[in-house]
Point group: D3
Chain length 158, copies 6
């Protein structure tokens, strides 16, 4: 392959023609994490229920963002998601929270961008809710973990 | 401070009251990068004009996303941006492209989330346009670089 | 059933997996009403055409809102509506206008939320257009009237 | 007053001219409730944290919807909210949950529609999350409770 | 002026910095028309009230679109419109309907794009509603008619 | 045909029922142009790459707008586009740029409105980017060029 598929042979951006692709079940898993000060992590973990559920809000933001992907990413095809789930895993040794998003559809194009967009907005929401106490938080290692379905089949991040 | 400002004293999420804050000029700079295979970076750099301008598309996506921030981040206040710019810096040694977004407003709340949201969508757009040739790209070091204006004054990432 | 389907077994919100559901024709009918002062109702009824068509505007708002349902309701699946209609029925004895929305799709999930969201926005639009003369209007009895299609079959409000 | 302000003298809908109105602090409080089966209410109340926080999700949906009001209500002016909060009050005797939304801005127009839109979407979200166990839930008594600011001053539902 | 203001000196698109512009009252008037078969025009004119109000629907679509301008036009600043009105003028001799949109704000940037976007969507909505009977309709002469406010002052199409 | 399909027999607007239509491949081509001063055209043509790529930005805006069509046009059905491309053709003799949009889907309704909406937003974006140097630009001859698929089959503008 010597050219990006999102451009035609004159270099013009386009939404690639997928009419002839088959409707298959497609799954994508994206992961990434936000690193923070230990005190911030402690506040988030203490927070549940009574004091404010940062991760619960971030989970909703991530799921809602997955549905807006085609509005945000210019050449992304609109598609009807059939499943989205969002997990947060505490990495205490690194003072970080890892986020893992699984997105699925039955359709003509993959859901990698939906998973990655949900993930990014989930992490950004954590940043937003904690920035008053820890402005220096960093988002790291945002990437596609795994992908199934479609012509390219099963792929896993090495 | 022993509680997140986005929750009230019963732990309920809210959009914080900013009515009494003054309208000041506020600036935020966010940076982050996407790391890829050297061949992918070469394709992007060769791409301009004739073969397709990946970074030009990503820049537009980033600017447009900055205007959708309050729709994506649940407790973010809506605000009227007065300036957004997006720079891409090639880091050939690391086979990466750094993105740097500056956002500004004259208003009652900061524009950190607008800068970070634009940055994230800019990097995601690069991912989307290149994923057919390099599915393993990673977004790294997304963080606030600098912030001016408002009661907390000038802040810089250390 | 001892748990809400929108949460997994750890209590985490998710967009439920519907990939294996079949594409069937689904219909939902929602009703509700807005109660107002008799003078307000008279103004609305006099209004058509020459003086301003409150119900015509509300009908358009309702139809347009049905298409935004998945953006507003966090765990709602996006779907492609195949039909939406909105009727207004005057209930003079009660000084009220009843709204009745029918929504349909051919898909994997029901359209109850689309019908109810359209209905709510239709009534809110009537409120908005009349609030300068009658701030005390009330929306009442918003509920699902009937639902067809899908595994649960035909259901009717008792 | 013998005509709706949202129409001109030929009956044409318009966004009313508010350029000459002064920027004052404006507050609106809207309330409404959703009535359900006692078993459903019990499930919601048991739900917090471990089993799924229905009201936490509904609160986020309500706050986010307040920011979309001008997109949904045709003749509503866009405005920059400075505060939104959402409370849920359990009414066990009636097997209902009351929702109360407070919205504020400093601007030229009132925030009644923002409060009412947030309220409606909050109740709709409760319906969505519980509909698999109780399809017959009803939304009742959605109305403006109180309003401050602007030329019309303080108003309270009688 | 030898360069477009929407690009910096390296040719990179940006949202132009308007922080130092003063908040003045700004007005823009845009006009354009849709030309159709005489029979189509007759159907639209007969339509009001009983048979379906094409222009009433188009007017609402135009007003609502004005509020989405900054989402559609990449480098447009978000702003809070204070007034939008839409008039339709029948040009029977040409078998056309002219649309005229007036948009206003008190702010740092002009509202030309808001007026033109509303106008375009108003005409497109007429097209949509009549296309089943007249697919060959054409939109013509869409342009800015007049503009007031801001540093450039009063401008009128010659 | 003696009535518009978007209204029922009482003249009420509705989203037409398309559940029974078959999923066929549908294509629409729309064209239109923007006429400007020769100096403006020269600036745009000189612009590519180094000085700012007006047409590249307009192309992205057009593609992104195609995905928002159902949000803008009140009675339009939501659909999943499978392909969108945007070409700009310079008409030096007329000092104009013609835009040509092709939109495709596999679905129950045509994509005429998607093509026309993309086209309009593409032209509006050119206007926006050049208006500081040429406020008098005009958009002309926006119309459907061709349409394939669905019951009405192949249609071409005469």
């Amino acid at each position: 392959m010597n050219q990006f598929t999102h451009f035609d042979d004159r270099g013009h951006a386009r939404m690639v023609d997928v009419a002839d692709k088959s409707d298959t079940r497609r799954i994508a898993v994206a992961t990434g994490r936000i690193v923070m000060q230990p005190a911030t992590l402690k506040m988030i973990l203490d927070g549940n229920a009574k004091k404010g559920d940062v991760l619960g809000v971030a989970r909703i933001a991530a799921i809602m963002a997955s549905k807006r992907t085609a509005e945000l990413i210019p050449l992304c095809h609109p598609l009807a998601l059939t499943h989205v789930s969002v997990e947060f895993l505490v990495q205490e040794a690194d003072s970080a929270i890892e986020c893992r998003v699984t997105a699925e559809t039955v359709g003509k194009t993959g859901v990698e961008m939906e998973a990655l967009t949900a993930l990014s907005v989930g992490l950004l929401t954590i940043y937003d809710m904690c920035k008053a106490v820890d402005r220096g938080m960093r988002m790291e290692a945002i990437h596609l973990q795994e992908k199934q379905g479609g012509k390219s089949g099963h792929w896993r991040s090495s």
